[in-house]
């Protein structure tokens, strides 16, 4: 700095600017490179669905070809697929499974999660370990005896074996709800007790209102898990066509209409819409819920 005193004043701004400009250039290059990679990643994830959509609106003939862009836009393909398969029936079955399971999960899991998160009792840690164990268990492990039992009750071929368990026990939802409830300070619960609230009142008046975001996230995951489920419907309703869910039917649709890429891609596209819609409306709940399964796990 002292050197500038002897130099002509014109040079004064030039001195400190040189390194800054260099840093700026490096910074901009860095920014451009990072964002180019980020954008490329985003496109990479989106491209498959774009191809699916473009194929879905192609004509029957063009869908055979290697063309990437539709010559004409056959929007009717999305409607015609409803004539090719009883999609409405499958949609109703999927909604029945997902909505009833989510409802059952809320009724059974919220109290259990509360007991695991906010009440102290002997055996609580063991109970929580059992929840984790159940959560990690591949569904195929218990499939044989469960199928046997449901079949002796005459309930295979219906959605009952898929829905009923949610009214009693859903390990993942109990786990996730407990993680959320742990973040609610214990002092709120204690204060409610001092005020003479029963445990049930404390749950309904204090915990449930405070845990709403967590409950919303858990319900979303439960809905999507059942909507996406393939093994359960395959196991219990595989033989009974009018009980199929959309996921199960989609796997077949490809087989029955193997040559018609546009139809099968139209159905594929349609089955992906609910997840996107739910995400758009509840993005925060999703991200929060996902984070909770891992970080606080």
């Amino acid at each position: 700095m002292t050197a500038t005193l002897t130099k002509p004043p014109v040079d004064v701004p030039a001195e400190p600017e040189q390194p800054r400009r260099k840093r700026d250039v490096a910074g901009i290059l860095n920014w451009v490179a990072t964002h180019a990679i980020g954008l490329a990643l985003g496109l990479m994830f989106a491209t498959p669905v774009v191809f699916v959509f473009l194929t879905a609106v192609m004509s029957d003939d063009q869908a055979f070809t290697s063309n990437l862009w539709p010559r004409e836009w056959h929007w009717g393909n999305f409607v015609e697929v409803f004539d090719k398969a009883p999609l409405f029936q499958y949609l109703i079955n999927s909604l029945t499974y997902s909505l009833l399971a989510t409802l059952g999960m809320l009724i059974s899991s919220i109290p259990a999660a509360y007991a695991l998160a906010k009440l102290k009792w002997r055996g609580r840690n063991v109970a929580f370990l059992l929840v984790i164990g159940a959560m990690m268990l591949p569904p195929q492990v218990v499939a044989v005896p469960l199928y046997d039992t449901w079949s002796s009750l005459g309930l295979t071929g219906t959605l009952v074996p898929l829905i009923a368990p949610y009214f009693l026990f859903d390990a993942f939802s109990i786990f996730l709800l407990r993680q959320f409830m742990l973040t609610i300070p214990q002092s709120y619960v204690d204060a409610a007790r001092v005020d003479g609230c029963s445990e049930f009142q404390a749950l309904v008046r204090i915990i449930i209102p405070m845990a709403k975001p967590g409950i919303a996230a858990t319900a979303l995951f439960c809905f999507l898990f059942t909507w996406n489920d393939y093994f359960g419907p395959l196991l219990y309703t595989g033989e009974v066509k009018d009980q199929w869910t959309l996921s199960l039917a989609l796997a077949t649709f490809k087989g029955m209409h193997i040559v018609q890429w546009n139809s099968s891609m139209a159905v594929t596209f349609l089955t992906m819409i609910p997840a996107v819609v739910l995400f758009v409306f509840a993005q925060k709940s999703f991200v929060k819920g996902i984070t909770f399964t891992g970080v606080k796990g």
Partner: protein, 324 residues
């Protein structure tokens, strides 16, 4: 908790305690019944059935260790175990590294974060059947979009779901496309790394790559362990993608998965759960399926213990705080 009880008047104490017990029992009752019905009972029954010959129609017949000794002589089972091990190794490494890579890029973005994060995460919400068909269509040989794009560079796309050597890599590609949940978990962990640690490293003259290696990675290592365990479990359970890719690849899918098409091409997609399903619910060899289920249970149990131990470490670190 004990403090609250103690604060109550002495005569009410015993009653309060039994009320508390009743409350716990009431809240836990559905879960306890559900656990016994849908996990406890079937787990025990599975182990018992694994020592029998059972076809679902005639009563089970005790046959000792026959199911287990048969495993060593069953070439298809060995194939299924090899396939599942392939996924446990390749999928676990690929998924964890991929999710870490994408999360690290997103963490460095300054604008457009929301959009790019959404684009990377959304595929993970797609039904696995749909995701598999998406890739089946995009990667199809002779005119599929990937084939066309690679064609511009004079490269032919591999026969992803019809060449036994490419079927498992094809399924791995699907699994990476839908690994957005792990990305979000790792991203949250990266964003949680205290800024001061980066500043300290920067003062020591560490560039961005060294900061990532020496600060980011060690700090998020518990989350990476979660990612690894989670991926191993995913690989052990791999069923839907394998069944759908196999039956779509064979060109004649059928929801109930006609046995001859499962594992197509050349049993390269015959994973352990797929084979278990085939034996139990296509051939109705329930005893053998139960024996396989027992093996799968023991392996998953071992993996779960790793996860639980990691969580224990975490919670003992956390429980020092107030409210614990």
């Amino acid at each position: 908790m004990t403090a609250t009880l103690g604060a109550k008047p002495a005569p009410g104490r015993g009653r309060a305690r039994s009320r508390h017990r009743l409350a716990v029992l009431g809240f836990m009752a559905p879960a306890i019944i559900g656990f016994v019905l849908f996990f406890g009972y079937p787990l025990v029954t599975t182990v018992v059935l694994s020592f029998t010959k059972y076809d679902l129609i005639n009563p089970p017949e005790f046959n000792g260790l026959d199911n287990y000794t048969f495993m060593f002589k069953d070439p298809l089972l060995i194939k299924a175990i090899t396939n599942t091990l392939w996924f446990v190794v390749v999928l676990t490494i690929a998924r964890t590294v991929f999710a870490l890579g994408v999360a690290s890029v997103i963490a460095r973005l300054k604008s457009g974060v929301g959009l790019i994060r959404t684009l990377c995460y959304l595929p993970s919400l797609a039904p696995p059947v749909a995701a598999t068909l998406v890739f089946f269509m995009v990667m199809r040989p002779n005119g599929g979009p990937l084939d066309s794009v690679l064609g511009w560079f004079g490269v032919d796309a591999p026969l992803f779901f019809s060449d036994p050597a490419w079927a498992k890599p094809g399924i791995t590609a699907i699994m990476l496309w839908i690994s957005g949940d792990l990305m979000i978990i790792i991203l949250a962990a990266i964003l949680d790394v205290p800024q001061e640690q980066y500043e300290a490293a920067e003062l020591d003259g560490a560039g961005p790559i060294r900061r990532w290696w020496h600060v980011t990675l060690p700090t998020i290592s518990p989350v990476l362990l979660f990612g690894i365990v989670n991926s191993v479990i995913l690989a052990l359970q791999l069923f839907t993608q394998a069944v759908v890719a196999g039956s779509a690849g064979s060109g004649a899918a059928d929801a109930t998965g006609s046995t001859k098409y499962l594992g197509f091409p050349d049993n390269s997609t015959l994973t352990f759960p797929v084979y278990l399903y085939t034996q139990g619910f296509r051939y109705f060899d329930m005893g053998y399926a139960a024996a396989m289920a027992t093996v799968l249970f023991i392996i998953s149990f071992a993996v779960t213990i790793v996860l639980v131990q990691r969580m224990r470490k975490n919670s003992t670190a956390e429980e020092g705080g107030p409210g614990a």
